[in-house]
């Protein structure tokens, strides 16, 4: 269908094709041109051959010399008064576009593209054109010039540390059962018989077991992993997000469960199976290889796995153990501290002000989160975001890192953000540590089940972000499908206020966006899986440091007015590597990429999936 003038400008380097019959003598305008977004399908099915087609920019204003019908690619011989191919110097990166876009495949390996940026520090980038040619995918566009013009920034104000959070680490090398819950040296004892109290505390919990899983037992079977949690407690009267937090190293809580009929507590995939085949080690939300798991296993009443009380009962029962450990931790002597970390919440007036908006699940059933409990990732004091109406809740970055989210979410394991994910949230850390930006806060917004409610919370998010007067915003989400409705709406709400937005989600193949709008132009795909799917490997496709780095570079480019290339029609894993290379070149430092499921022993389930 014909396009708008604005759209034509945005696509001036795409091929020009008539959308309908145009008569000889017509001066071509956007009304005569077909939307380039549909060309791939047409070319693929042989309905369109774009060979020799001039660009939209060239065709606009030219006179058609011969009456031609719809779907006719405009070639030079059909036009008179055609503009020369654009070669303007201004936003330097656009020079690449005519080459890369007009002949997407053919331009590969065609030498080196030099980019010179006049503003800022005058960074010179050398980008192999072949790489540019193969760039971009749905939900992942190429960062053209990361971290470019930012340097020319506004007069920087004084950096200000708003508050600090101390994490004291205590090392645990052994977990044993004993008559009381206590920590002696590096050994954690858990009281024998505590399971009965855990089970008794929850009406819905019919059976409760506790397993200590050491690295030697990683090859044993487990039910689906509902959550991975740090074992941490606040010191003295300190509140979450402030003061000092004590945390145990070398050990994590792991929550698992099934219902009476043996149904896994999860939706859209589950990770039950041999542990080492189903956990993506080292993801922010996952265990590290070598850690000991204190693994709960609860059986809840039949059919309560898809209700709100069911999963909550498993989490609450498990927290009885965690809480008893927390109490023991409070008695620990400082001599046992093996490391101390300090997180400063720094405000940087004068720098680009950004906000992180994290969409979390709030559809009900297990799709819920307890926000801001009293203890890190605790139960007590936490408010379910479903009960809060899923409206935006603003947290400080330190609250996020201090266990503000107790994640009950049981969406597909590969994209689920577990409680530990927030404890180590890479985007929050990246922004907090970047001296070029001013992170003002983290907004959690729930994803309700009903569309009307999705738009309700999304409008609140837009208003919240507007009131913050930010220069840029991130929107992240976990899962895929239904939650992408609000994810898209969040982009619209924030984008229409003129605020640059970068979205982050697992998309790739299986999670391709179901909806979209014109503000969804800057996206980072969290996918790591080989095939671009929800592979049911715990944490595989969650937001990692390498994604945070790309998103931050993309937002900086956008805030600096640098163009970012449009996505390709189909998911292409090369987009990410291209962007990583660009950022590495700009930073002069290597970015280590995490491994994917191919590094794990192949499970029977995965074998099926990949065949």
């Amino acid at each position: 269908m014909s396009i708008s003038a604005e759209y034509a400008q945005a696509h001036k380097n795409d091929p020009a094709v008539l959308c309908c019959r145009a008569e000889a003598g017509v001066v071509l305008s956007e009304h005569n041109l077909e939307d380039p977004a549909i060309f791939d399908d047409l070319v693929e099915s042989g309905l369109l051959n774009l060979e020799g087609a001039v660009t939209i920019g060239q065709a606009l204003g030219a006179t058609l010399t011969k009456t031609a019908d719809s779907l006719t690619p405009l070639t030079a011989d059909l036009l008179e008064g055609m503009k020369a191919a654009e070669a303007e110097a201004a936003p330097a990166v656009e020079e690449a576009a005519p080459v890369a876009v007009a002949a997407p495949a053919a331009a590969a390996n065609a030498g080196v593209l030099k980019i010179h940026i006049d503003e800022g520090k005058g960074i010179d980038l050398e980008i192999p054109v072949g790489v540019m040619g193969g760039a971009a995918a749905p939900a992942a566009a190429v960062v053209a010039a990361p971290a470019a013009a930012e340097a020319a920034a506004v007069v920087a104000g004084e950096e200000k540390v708003v508050r600090s959070l101390i994490r004291k680490h205590y090392n645990i090398t052994e977990v044993k059962r004993g008559p009381e819950t206590k920590i002696e040296g590096t050994t954690l004892y858990i009281r024998e018989g505590i399971e009965a109290e855990c089970a008794a505390s929850q009406e819905l919990v019919l059976d409760f077991k506790l397993d200590i899983v050491t690295p030697a037992e990683y090859n044993t079977y487990s039910e689906t992993i509902m959550d991975v949690q740090p074992i941490a407690t606040k010191e003295g009267d300190d509140e979450l997000g402030y003061g000092t937090t004590r945390v145990l190293d070398g050990v994590v809580m792991m929550v698992t469960g099934v219902d009476e009929d043996g149904v896994q507590v999860g939706e859209f995939g589950s990770s039950e199976g041999i542990l080492e085949e189903n956990i993506m080690w080292g993801r922010p939300g996952c265990p590290e290889k070598g850690e000991i798991f204190i693994k709960s296993f609860a059986v809840i009443k039949a059919k309560t796995n898809m209700t709100r009380p069911g999963p909550l009962a498993i989490h609450t029962a498990t927290d009885i153990i965690t809480q008893e450990i927390r109490v023991a931790m409070k008695k620990l002597d400082d001599s046992l501290v093996v490391a101390t970390e300090q997180f400063d919440q720094v405000r940087r007036p004068g720098k680009k002000k950004v906000v992180i908006c994290k969409e979390i699940m709030g559809q009900g059933a297990m799709h819920d989160n307890l926000l801001l409990p009293m203890e890190p990732v605790g139960i007590l004091g936490g408010k379910p975001n479903v009960d809060l109406g899923n409206v935006p809740i603003v947290c400080s970055p330190l609250e996020v890192l201090d266990g503000a989210v107790h994640a009950l979410t049981c969406i597909g394991p590969a994209s689920k953000e577990m409680s530990r994910h927030y404890w180590r949230e890479p985007l929050v850390l990246e922004c907090l540590h970047d001296p070029e930006i001013d992170l003002c806060g983290v907004v959690f917004v729930g994803s309700p089940q009903i569309n009307g409610e999705k738009f309700y919370v999304s409008r609140r998010l837009g208003q919240t972000v507007e009131a913050m007067d930010v220069d840029g915003a991130f929107i992240t989400t976990e899962g895929f499908g239904n939650n992408h409705v609000d994810f898209a709406s969040h982009h619209e709400q924030i984008g229409q206020r003129g605020i640059p937005v970068v979205g982050m989600s697992f998309c790739a193949v299986q999670g391709a966006l179901v909806v979209g709008n014109k503000y969804m132009t800057h996206m980072v795909d969290n996918n790591k899986s080989e095939a671009g799917i929800e592979n049911e490997v715990l944490g595989c496709n969650t937001l990692c440091a390498e994604d945070a780095v790309r998103a931050l570079a993309m937002l900086k480019a956008q805030m600096a007015g640098e163009p970012v290339k449009a996505p390709e029609k189909k998911w292409n894993a090369n987009v990410k590597s291209t962007n990583i290379e660009l950022i590495e070149a700009a930073r002069g430092a290597k970015i280590e990429l995490v491994e994917n499921e191919q590094s794990l022993p192949m499970s029977a389930k995965r074998k099926e999936k990949y065949n």
Binding site: H31, E34, S70, L71
Partner: protein, 444 residues
């Protein structure tokens, strides 16, 4: 003649209230119903006796003798009052009360005469201009006077040479009235298309021509204005083209001055009767008309009665419907699909089609200029459609033909196909004529 049925609502606005009762004797021109809100007077179109007054109509049994004489409307110095009194409404199909329309002050603007006769097959507008050009031109002058317009423009398709010559002769000494030639393309008679072609102003679907200081009036409406003012004649007659699968040929018979309310069956009988098996009877034009029954009455807005050949049988094939502002609404498109024994699997809507009011009829943002249809065709194909039924204008039909039929292998029906096949008119497929027309009148 069978009974005459005068609907109480044959115009835009509220139904009129009957002021006669069963048993009343009426003559041509007897006022029988008056407006209750926006509306226009309704007069008896025959001599006869009121047989029944129902909730929505007055039914009159006509006398055997029908003299030409009629009861004149009240003479007035105020021409607008006479138009109102005569109960004239827009006779091109819209039915907006002309007395209200002409009441707007055009501030030196334009009276645009819609003589496009855009619906293929209909002929009565052109026949009227060929035979009554002078009276129609006087009608234009009355309309200009009433609504304070300084210019009148006849919008007419270039192919109608005889009518153009007649109008040209009639306006020879009238510098304020001119002719604008139109290409032979559907829908040049769409109200906003007439404004765009004549004045080069593209109105938004929510705007009225008054936004361009113009009033668009159908050629017959203008003639009836002249009749009301000069002859004190009430609006009791309608010119109607009857065509299609009829004994004696498919060409249009133009029945001039038919009594409003005459049944479809009477008209078909006068035209020779239905020739064997038929598909449907359409009241109105092939694009915007609707299927009707033999006993249905005509109204002040009825322009055509068309008898079609039987429909092809798609044997339950999957069909995609492309809705737009030019053809039938969804109900009509589904009606045609059902009559062809197709199953609707996808309904799409042209990107230029929009409802001026929520739930109102679709209007085209730029009538007759295709915005591209490939994405819609792909959507219907993806939904599994093997056939498409469209009601698009010439330009959009060309696009759908080019991309849908010729390139994607979909089979295409235009909602007018059965009519076009009946009357031997080319089907709406590839566009072969130019959209631009040389305005040189010297050849006429």
């Amino acid at each position: 003649m069978r009974n005459i049925k005068l609907l109480l609502r044959q115009h835009v606005g509220a139904p009129c209230a009957a002021i006669v009762k069963a048993g009343d004797k009426v003559e041509k021109g007897t006022l029988i119903a008056t407006p209750t809100g926006l509306g226009a007077n309704i007069f008896s179109s025959v001599y006869g006796v009121v047989e029944e007054v129902t909730e929505d109509a007055i039914i009159i049994k006509p006398d055997a003798e029908q003299p030409d004489k009629f009861i004149p409307i009240k003479k007035s110095e105020n021409k607008l009052d006479m138009v109102k009194e005569a109960g004239i409404v827009g006779m091109g199909g819209a039915g907006f009360p002309t007395g209200v329309k002409l009441g707007a002050d055009l501030d030196g603007g334009y009276i645009l005469v819609n003589a496009a006769e855009c619906e293929p097959g209909l002929k009565h507008n052109i026949k009227q201009l060929e035979e009554q050009a002078e009276k129609t031109v006087r009608g234009v002058e009355y309309c200009m006077e009433i609504s304070n317009a300084s210019k009148g423009i006849f919008a007419i398709k270039k192919k109608n040479a005889k009518a153009i010559s007649a109008v040209k002769a009639a306006i020879k000494d009238k510098p304020n009235i001119s002719i604008h030639l139109l290409p032979d393309i559907y829908p040049m008679g769409e109200e906003r298309a007439v404004v765009r072609e004549c004045l080069d102003i593209l109105l938004d679907p929510t705007q009225l021509p008054s936004a361009a200081k113009a009033n668009v009036l159908n050629a017959e409406t203008i003639l009836r204005v002249a009749e009301a003012i000069e002859d004190q004649k009430p609006c009791i007659y309608k010119n109607i083209s009857v065509l299609g699968k009829l004994n004696g040929g498919t060409e249009a018979r133009c029945f001039m001055d038919m009594p409003v309310g005459i049944s479809v069956e009477d008209l078909i009988e006068m035209a020779g009767g239905i020739d064997g098996e038929y598909g449907e009877i359409i009241m109105g034009g092939p694009f915007t008309g609707k299927a009707c029954n033999l006993e249905d009455p005509t109204t002040k807005t009825t322009g055509g009665v068309i008898v079609t050949i039987p429909f092809p049988d798609l044997h339950g094939a999957k069909v995609g419907l492309l809705l737009c502002g030019c053809g039938g609404n969804e109900e009509r498109m589904r009606d045609i699909c059902a009559k062809m024994n197709g199953v609707v699997v996808s309904v799409t809507q042209c990107k230029q089609a929009m409802a001026a009011k929520p739930g109102g009829p679709l209007k085209c943002e730029n009538p007759g200029n295709c915005p591209g249809q490939i994405a819609k065709v792909m959507e219907m194909k993806r939904a599994g459609a093997e056939y498409l039924i469209i009601g698009n204008c010439s330009d959009c039909s060309n696009t759908v033909t080019t991309c849908g039929t010729l390139k994607m292998g979909l089979k295409l029906f235009h909602q007018t196909d059965h009519v076009m096949r009946t009357i031997g008119h080319p089907l709406y497929r590839k566009l072969t004529v130019s959209k631009s027309v040389d305005q040189d009148l010297s050849e006429f």
